[in-house]
Symmetry: D2
Subunit: 203 residues, 4 copies
């Protein structure tokens, strides 16, 4: 069986995971510090600027927990403390990187963007086969979303310069683990921008 | 919020993931080589011998793919070649480590033991809250089962000497990732055997 | 095996399904006419008034479809025409029957309140075992939510005077079908109000 | 938006739900009596005989419960008593209507064939869009499988002369409810045999 090597197979969508105001806070101001988050945000912004000129769905995700503190499950048994409360400034999208009209936004209670959300309904409705993934944290929400995308039969493509994790080591280990699942999963903002520039310009 | 530290919270079950004849094959005889698998198998056997004397559910998993080659999804796009075909010797349980009467067995088509299986039904029926996990591969089925268990609100405990992965580095990275989710996830066969010996002896 | 007969087993929650401004529109003004909806709304209001004085979770549901028309799936292949678009007045909660602070609200894309939503996460977090269900339509969202609740091991209780369907016949047939699943599922606003009045008054 | 009217859209599969030796037992010999089951079995057999000559997947389902009595959930709170125990004769396929080599078989713990099974994985792998459904009981497993199929975006087609329920009234009410979801859901063995006879003969 020949391995799939094209970066985009069928129709694609861009998934931007948990890129919010909280992502850019310094380590002492957030329960979930991310190393070098600003670099990833800048690269994501460049991709989104081009993506908005062509016909490709963009889906933004926010992790959100109810203020009544009833939906954390086991999420406070690990490294992360209380995080992503609805209504807090941390979960707001960044001013220059927020959903525009015709783009999609999905709130989630767990790490995987597929878990207890309508993502699969949306992707089927859009007839998407390839997920171009970026955001935070490489070793948590990006990794578990990728594993679920893989198990749901999607082509998974990670823009390595557009994801960052809890540490450089954890970030790299998760990228390796995703490549174990799909050899062609590694891509970057430059390659994706090149592919987007060849797509149909938006009417 | 105080972090949970007990190793076993509420009722526990032992999950033995993908420990089959294929797990012990040499690297040139299997599409999924595992480093040092025999050590883990020996440790799991010791735990199971004690577990069988007390009142704790034991659940065995096999990854199984239909011979018609219709259910691999994207599983052949990565490092693994065709694997775990139904009816092949590879997927058979090891003679000295197979389900006995009153123990449970679940086949799965994907890496996570929760994905498209009846595991959650079974665990709810058994009123289990803590999953004591062992088997293969640390960085694939064990990791993604643990992530799903975490997202499904179970307490996740990994016997580190009873899991092995595709490489020592990938194995360790996944154990670290699981500890990021639940700080108390690390345990081992000796600690679990000690806890089992304190449980009610089977009638 | 003895059949369960208590109306409330363990902790309960009240589920109010798709009771919105659109529910009360005359048949020629809505794609989903409901017979005698006002009667059900009045009865639900009486239950909610009492429920708000005691310690019981109240969960409101809205069916919502994205204006981009990408998430209807097969929902337009039947009797219903385009319905429940986000931002339309139809999907707004009724002024005298909307979630208050501390109550819960869940949007859904499909008929079952469990399908692609975080309902199960919320119910587990609240440790709820019994679902007291009301709203619309008996023969669609109420019926399929009840079937899923049943399959997810919840105790299902329907307040018969607080649900209405596409026709009296379809309404009654679904109530019968739910009673086939759980003999004790039939209840009404008066019985539930009586049980609520015995609960702990809210601090 | 034009309603879909073709009986088969894209690729189809035949789903045979819970047609086992137990289905044909007299009312006093089974916890789940079905009226007029033999008529449906005869009609299903005619469809299968033709289907086996052409290129269409056939998927058989069995409801199966573990003998340890741990996975019934709430299934004993209704009309049905203990049923479908693994290893009992009741759950065996009928001699003249059992899966052959190359056909598929799926065990399930709940009423919907989608609930906690690998059905969706299989259907995606087979690239199936239309489900031709038959079996028992119209008002339980057939109805809830159809509702889930609908919510998973499949085209649902019921062969009305190949399903039977707990009573003629309950059977008819469920067929009506499925037609509410998809107007084109009603078909029968004669129409399907006619369509099968136009398909590519198996190599």
């Amino acid at each position: 069986m020949k391995k799939q090597v094209d970066t985009i197979v069928g129709k694609a969508a861009i998934l931007i995971i948990d890129v919010t105001k909280g992502s850019l806070l310094p380590p002492d101001k957030t329960p979930i510090p991310i190393f070098d988050a600003q670099t990833a945000v800048n690269n994501i912004k460049e991709v989104v600027d081009v993506a908005r000129t062509v016909d490709i769905p963009i889906i933004f995700f926010q992790e959100l927990h109810r203020r009544e503190m009833v939906d954390f499950g086991r999420e406070l048994d690990g490294v992360e403390d209380v995080h992503c409360l609805e209504g807090s400034e941390d979960v707001e999208f960044i001013d220059y990187l927020k959903p525009m009209d015709g783009e999609f936004s999905i709130g989630k209670r767990r790490y995987s963007c597929f878990f207890a959300t309508d993502l699969n309904i949306l992707l089927k409705g859009l007839k998407v086969e390839t997920l171009i993934i970026c955001g935070f944290l490489t070793d948590v929400c990006v990794h578990y979303t990728s594993a679920d995308a893989h198990q749901h039969d999607y082509y998974v493509r990670i823009m390595h310069d557009c994801v960052r994790g809890s540490s450089p080591e954890a970030h790299q280990a998760s990228l390796n683990a995703i490549k174990y699942l799909q050899t062609a999963s590694e891509t970057n903002s430059k390659e994706i921008i090149g592919l987007l520039e060849k797509m149909t310009v938006k009417a």
